[in-house]
Symmetry: C2
Amino acid sequence: MPTPDNPTTDKKIAVLIAEGLEEVEALAVVDVVFRAGIRAELIAVGDSLTVTSSHKVVLTCEALLSEVDLDDYDMVFLPGGIPGTPNLKAVPAVTDEVTARVQAGRPVAAICAAPSILAELGLLQGRDATSNPNFMGVLAEHGARTSQAAVVVDDQLLTSRGMGTAIELGLEIVRHYLGDDAVDAVKRGIVYQH
Amino acid sequence: MPTPDNPTTDKKIAVLIAEGLEEVEALAVVDVVFRAGIRAELIAVGDSLTVTSSHKVVLTCEALLSEVDLDDYDMVFLPGGIPGTPNLKAVPAVTDEVTARVQAGRPVAAICAAPSILAELGLLQGRDATSNPNFMGVLAEHGARTSQAAVVVDDQLLTSRGMGTAIELGLEIVRHYLGDDAVDAVKRGIVYQH
């Protein structure tokens, strides 16, 4: 599972995986941070380590949510997808965790439909955020200041728009922990020409 | 496994999966073509359906190479990664297939390190191609006309540079089968802002 051989930080990221997630939204972020030496673990929120994505790709996660203590992870990341997002939202341990984290100012990232979970919990009131275009209305209704940027960083809260912006979310997470030079090194490594 | 509910073509793509592949290079292409209604199957070239990527992500493939007839697939796609690429190159059924295909002018796609397999088989002589920057010398030594474009299309041969260009390779495959309007629809769906 995603453990870099030469970690650059002792911080790690919990990637919360539900049935029907968009797998590339999760894995592109895991890939980008892995290259920078940051550990990200795939944590299944259901009863099985093996999860099928919205595109019917079968992934095996490293741990079950019921087996880990999310306090051990510096950041919690919610990938999107339908029905992955409602499946995440239906898990009280997920909604309790992100509520406590956002209220405490601890790092949370979400992409695509998943920022709508934070909005519906009332956590984006007065915060800068983005999401998949189909969910921007939900964010606005719940008091977010919405943006069409690929990634929006508001203090410890990182939101992004979709599979096509997942690399950019990963790069912002690298910037958050390691700064601009680490971002540039990853961009060269993946031949990201933007 | 990646079978769209509403296929737009009866053509399908064989994605050849070896231990140590770069999983996002494979899955970003699968995701993009899936959204356009094109089936892409993950086919493990070894003895196990379950394969671990270069970033230690565990995927379960749909079929073993020994169980399928690659003639049933319109395109063969080789993702990159180390040791994924040498692991692909070590399988005679893979090198035999891509040799026969390129010689017959049938569709082949390769990304990152994987175009070097085609080069070392002598299949890129006088062809336009690209690869990961670390492998451009191998392509040139074997007579390719190299380019730094994100994706190079030379007749039925599509090559690309790395994880950061995998979405663009997927979009070119969509263009190959379905044209520009289908590409634009996928770009909107994934919020690809380039």
